[in-house]
């Protein structure tokens, strides 16, 4: 089979599934899910074929699509290391989640639609990844946003879900504007949007001399603003925690291989461009480090399991970007890959618990005996958690090592320290989560502080069927294996990315990170795991810090108070201008005319001599005027 056909099948199968289901089988759930699963399988097989025996480079398909001025924009499928690797990850994780959803969503009346949207999500992400030009990337970037909007707001009768979807869409769109403007400027600067061309230009061919200084920085910064929105970096990170209002499979997908991954992948895709903008890279580093630290602190005090995972995603995305910004394409991309596995795993585990116990609250889950009743899930949780914490030899460990390793040199010292700190916090809050579920302290203090609103869990009725049906266990096992194994694929990934020399840090280099991760675990053990622990984190004992962290540094509050109010106020102002000014003014003008007419009519008083007199006076005036001139 030729690559063109495989590539087209791979990227288009989900679209076919989406369209078929949406038009024909929205309410025939079994058919709908079957179609989507088949498409997922087709994609998975196709992506695997492309990954393992595809051509290393080149656009395998392109069609004239659009014209801007004199430039033809083509719709294309680009195969190279980055896209093949990412495509395979997307296909694999999506397929796992689709299987998982079979059971998870089995009682939802809208699951036909759900599967359709999943297919749309996959399709958008795939074409984003495989796009041959930046405009195509942008388009599918937007569609990824649209699909996640639809999925976050899937339970659209729940106001919180609708609000979360809206927030996600608008906040990412703010970033998109940066990306869009950056895209246009890039287009103007280099005169092409072709990914390969751009890569070549920035990789070595050199830029035209005429480019104004700072122009590349500007473009890169604008592109990065898009990433900030999409990958939920500070200061546009606040939508992601809310986004778990969607069904848990959606969260799993959103946080691992799609949506947020798109942002990072954009930087991966245009890493050459970013490397040409050192100023921007510093900026990225600052933002990424800030985000990693900030969201770790938030994760430390959250009790909603999905929320903890959401904060951890933000933090890990920060890590990826740190790696990329430090100049290591491999580190960032490696972490993106491994993270996709263990984060999907963690979410699926969380979903499994939630599905069973009907709550998102970790304390409540633990108390309900989560660890005992759901063994496989719990194993998955421990493995995923360990990977997230960076415990060797799991996936997260290697990739995180790569990132920390890339932050060498004195100029990166502060970021390295930040990375260590974030790694420590990650280990701590991950194992806080693990211990809360594994070792529920029945009489621990934590129980009294049931957080409000944690009962919004998406499982509608408790305890249906076996606790761990195969559709749920299967993906968890698969991803657990992936998490266990992915860490060793580093060389393979590097090879796929055409990176010749991968720096494998020596044990001595790795030691601090291992120690720090273990320290975090130990501290978590002391606070939550050991017998008789009060199960109140050390941070929770500092009221000021706790308030700050629990309220997510008040960032949302400030946004609501400042930006939302500003927008509403501005809208009010405009509305007032409309009703009283433009619209009201027009009405006033009309009323004025009518009033003038009324006066005019009154002047026709019916008195003949007044009429004649007026006429004569006016004629006299005119005669006088004529006489003068």
């Amino acid at each position: 089979m030729n690559h063109q056909l495989i590539a087209l099948l791979t990227v288009m199968a989900p679209l076919v599934a989406f369209a078929t289901v949406l038009i024909g089988f929205r309410s025939k759930h079994t058919v709908a899910s079957s179609i989507v699963l088949i498409s997922g399988l087709v994609t998975l097989v196709g992506a695997a074929l492309l990954l393992f025996n595809g051509p290393v480079d080149g656009t395998v398909f392109s069609a004239r699509w659009f014209v801007i001025g004199d430039h033809v924009i083509e719709f294309g499928v680009l195969l190279d290391g980055r896209t093949r690797m990412m495509g395979a990850v997307v296909a694999l994780i999506t397929f796992c989640i689709q299987i998982y959803s079979l059971s998870y969503m089995s009682h939802d009346p809208g699951r036909g639609r759900f599967f359709a949207f999943l297919a749309l999500f996959e399709w958008s992400m795939l074409l984003f990844v495989f796009a041959s030009n930046l405009l195509q990337m942008f388009i599918f970037w937007e569609l990824v946003g649209l699909a996640s909007f639809l999925l976050i707001g899937f339970w659209y009768e729940k106001p919180s879900a609708v609000a979360a979807a809206k927030k996600a869409f608008i906040m990412t769109r703010i970033g998109d504007i940066g990306l869009f403007i950056g895209l246009i400027l890039l287009f103007q600067t280099v005169g092409t949007l072709d990914v390969v061309r751009i890569t070549q230009i920035f990789a070595g061919e050199g830029l035209p001399e005429s480019i104004a200084p700072g122009r590349i920085e500007l473009i890169a910064t604008l592109l990065f603003i898009g990433v900030i929105g999409k990958s939920a970096q500070f200061p546009l990170h606040t939508w992601l925690p809310d986004a778990m209002e969607g069904p848990t499979p959606v969260s799993a997908l959103l946080h691992s291989a799609t949506m947020v991954a798109a942002g990072v992948f954009l930087v991966v895709r245009f890493h050459e461009l970013f490397l040409d903008a050192p100023g921007t890279m510093r900026f990225v580093l600052i933002i990424a480090t800030t985000t990693a630290l900030l969201s770790s602190t938030m994760a430390m005090v959250a009790r909603d399991m999905k929320r903890v995972l959401a904060f951890s995603s933000i933090s890990q995305l920060g890590f990826m970007l740190m790696g990329l910004a430090a100049g290591s394409l491999f580190a960032g991309f490696f972490h993106l890959t491994t993270h996709a596995f263990f984060k999907a795993l963690l979410f699926l585990c969380a979903g499994s618990y939630i599905h069973k116990f009907g709550t998102n609250d970790m304390v409540a889950m633990g108390r309900a005996g989560a660890a005992g009743k759901m063994k496989i899930t719990t194993i998955g949780l421990v493995v995923g958690g360990a990977a997230l914490a960076g415990i060797p030899p799991l996936a997260g460990f290697f990739s995180k090592e790569q990132i920390i390793g890339s932050l060498h040199g004195p100029e990166n010292l502060i970021f390295r320290i930040g990375a260590y700190a974030a790694a420590f916090l990650t280990a701590y809050y991950t194992f806080r989560m693990v211990f809360l579920i594994l070792r529920p302290g029945i009489d621990s203090e934590a129980i009294e502080e049931e957080p409000a609103g944690s009962q919004h869990a998406d499982a509608h009725d408790e305890d249906h069927g076996p606790a761990e049906p195969w559709q749920i266990v299967g993906p968890i096992i698969a991803l657990t294996l992936g998490t266990l194994g992915a860490g060793f694929l580093g060389n393979r990934i590097g090879h796929t990315l055409l990176i010749e020399h991968i720096h494998h840090p020596a044990l001595a280099e790795m030691a601090p990170a291992i120690v720090i991760a273990l320290l975090g675990v130990v501290l978590a053990w002391l606070d939550f795991g050991r017998k008789g622990a009060r199960q109140v984190g050390f941070i929770a004992r500092l009221p000021a810090a706790r308030t700050l962290f629990e309220n997510r540094w008040f960032i949302d509050t400030v946004y609501k108070a400042v930006f939302v109010r500003l927008a509403v106020g501005f809208a009010k102002l405009m509305f007032g201008a409309e009703t009283r000014g433009f619209d009201g003014g027009a009405d006033k003008l009309g009323q004025g005319t009518v009033a003038a007419g009324s006066q005019m009519a009154k002047a026709h008083s019916g008195r003949l001599q007044f009429y004649v007199g007026t006429a004569f006076v006016l004629v006299a005036v005119l005669v006088f005027y004529l006489g003068l001139s």
């Binding site: 005319t593 007419g597 009519a601 005119l622 006489g627």
Partner: protein, 468 residues
């Protein structure tokens, strides 16, 4: 003596007057009189059309000229006459015992108007002016509601007499300067300021007829108080005649036209504005139409003050198409006011349910007045405005167009009443066959001249050339 056959159209209309007179004297019924009048009016229209291409001087040299200009206007006048007679089959608003005389006055007045547009000598012109006016004065007094009729007639006649005195004063000044009353000789004279003043004063009588500000104030009152059928005639044919006279007189002062143009511009703008504004708040449909006439007179003046061949052509075009347009509106007034009352906005409410034909006629008439395509009013305005801009009067066109916008407001409100408001009385309105034919004819004329303006426009252009 010239070729007397050139006088045939006028003669036919004069004959119509005589026939009507004889029939009334021998005591025949109104019906007979009316049928005879319709026939004579048709003859008049036919003769005017047949004599369209005629040119020459039927009488003493220099006093009466038959040319493309006069003949086209005569077609307009006789059309107005014909349409007015056609709907007067049962003139409900005319006093019973005066009805029999009604057609005769129409015909006499029409003769006067036809002579007005042919007259090329000041005294002939004046005599024709008075001849056309006298009939109208009487007609205005024939209202069934005599109290209103008499007031309308009194205002009309006194205002008219006063302005005709001014006209005459102007004529005397022209005579004093040019020492002749023949237009051909006057035009050869170097105009002095006194002469220009004389022209302006002489114009006042025709401005009065056309109801141009400040000689307009009689119009609303007279329209309101005079019988509908009479107003139909006043509102149609006499405007055509007045436009003809103004066009002729204006050319007397061409070499010194700057200040005169400025004076007329003032009148033009004031007419449009006053007419449109005052029309907004009217409730009586006839008053609306009266004020709208004032405004329309302003539009016509736009063409005339452009002082170009095209301007005159556009004014002539507008005056001629104006006849069927206004007729459409008045036809509805006549039918609705068949009991002698004046239709108001409330009495046309729901007209559509009561008589779709009348509603459509009203719609066409109103759109024509507002200048909405595909009615001829649109083309008319377009030509007028084109002429003005050719003469660098862009701002005047702007004012005119804004005025047209304002006017749309009250035209639309009338249409709204007719089409939207539910009727108070749902009984269908009976429309006599003659009226139905008249309505169809009116609408056809309005629409055809809007969609196919070419023929009439070329005639108007020829007319404008003839006047120079």
């Amino acid at each position: 003596m010239g070729d007397l056959t050139l006088f045939v159209p006028e003669a036919v209309v004069l004959l119509g007057a005589i026939v009507a007179f004889v029939l009334s004297v021998i005591g025949s019924s109104y019906r007979v009189n009316w049928i005879a009048s319709v026939i004579m009016a048709i003859l008049g229209v036919a003769m005017s059309i047949a004599w369209l291409g005629a040119a020459g001087e039927p009488f003493f040299p220099g006093i009466y000229r038959v040319d493309a200009f006069s003949q086209l206007l005569k077609v307009g006048i006789t059309t107005g006459l014909f349409l007015s007679v056609l709907i007067a089959g049962n003139p409900g608003s005319v006093r019973e015992h005066s009805r029999i005389d009604f057609p005769m006055f129409l015909f006499f007045s029409a003769v006067g108007m036809m002579m007005m547009v042919s007259a090329t000598e000041l005294i002939t012109l004046y005599v024709a002016l008075e001849l056309s006016a006298y009939g109208l004065y009487i007609l205005a007094a024939l209202n069934k509601r005599q109290r209103e009729g008499s007031e309308a007639a009194a205002k009309y006649v006194l205002f008219g007499a006063a302005s005709s005195a001014v006209t005459l004063f102007g004529i005397s000044l022209i005579f004093g300067v040019a020492r002749s009353t023949l237009l051909s000789e006057i035009i050869a004279t170097q105009p002095t300021p006194l002469m220009v003043i004389g022209v302006l004063l002489a114009l006042s009588g025709v401005l009065f007829k056309l109801a141009v500000f400040p000689f307009h104030a009689w119009a609303p009152d007279t329209y309101q108080g005079a019988p509908h059928e009479a107003v139909t005639f006043i509102g149609t044919a006499s405007k055509v005649a007045a436009v003809g006279v103004i066009a002729r007189l204006l050319f007397l002062a061409i070499p010194a036209h700057d200040s005169l143009v400025n004076a007329l511009l003032v009148l033009c703008v004031a007419s449009m504005t006053v007419g449109n504004l005052a029309a907004i708040v009217q409730n009586d449909i006839k008053r609306v139409l009266a004020y709208s006439t004032v405004a329309q007179a302003g539009y016509i003046l736009i063409g005339l003050v452009s002082f170009s061949s095209m301007g005159v052509a556009s004014a002539i075009y507008y005056a001629v198409i104006y006849v069927p347009i206004v007729f459409c509106a008045f036809l509805v007034v006549c039918v609705l006011g068949a009991d002698g009352s004046n239709p108001t906005k409330s009495s046309i409410a729901g007209l559509y349910q009561r008589s779709p034909l009348l509603a459509a006629t009203l719609l066409v008439g109103m759109f024509g007045l507002a200048g909405i395509p595909p009615t001829s009013g649109f083309m008319g305005k377009w030509f007028l405005f084109s002429a003005a801009i050719k003469s660098d009067l862009l701002w005047l066109v702007l004012i005119g167009a804004i005025n047209a916008t304002v006017s749309l407001y009250y035209y639309l409100r009338i249409i709204k009443e007719a089409y939207l408001t539910p009727p108070a009385d749902e009984t269908a309105i009976k429309v006599s066959p003659a009226t139905a034919i008249a309505a169809g004819l009116g609408m056809t004329l309005v629409l055809v001249m809007g969609i196919y303006p070419r023929l009439l426009w070329e005639l108007a252009e020829a007319a404008a050339k003839a006047i120079n």
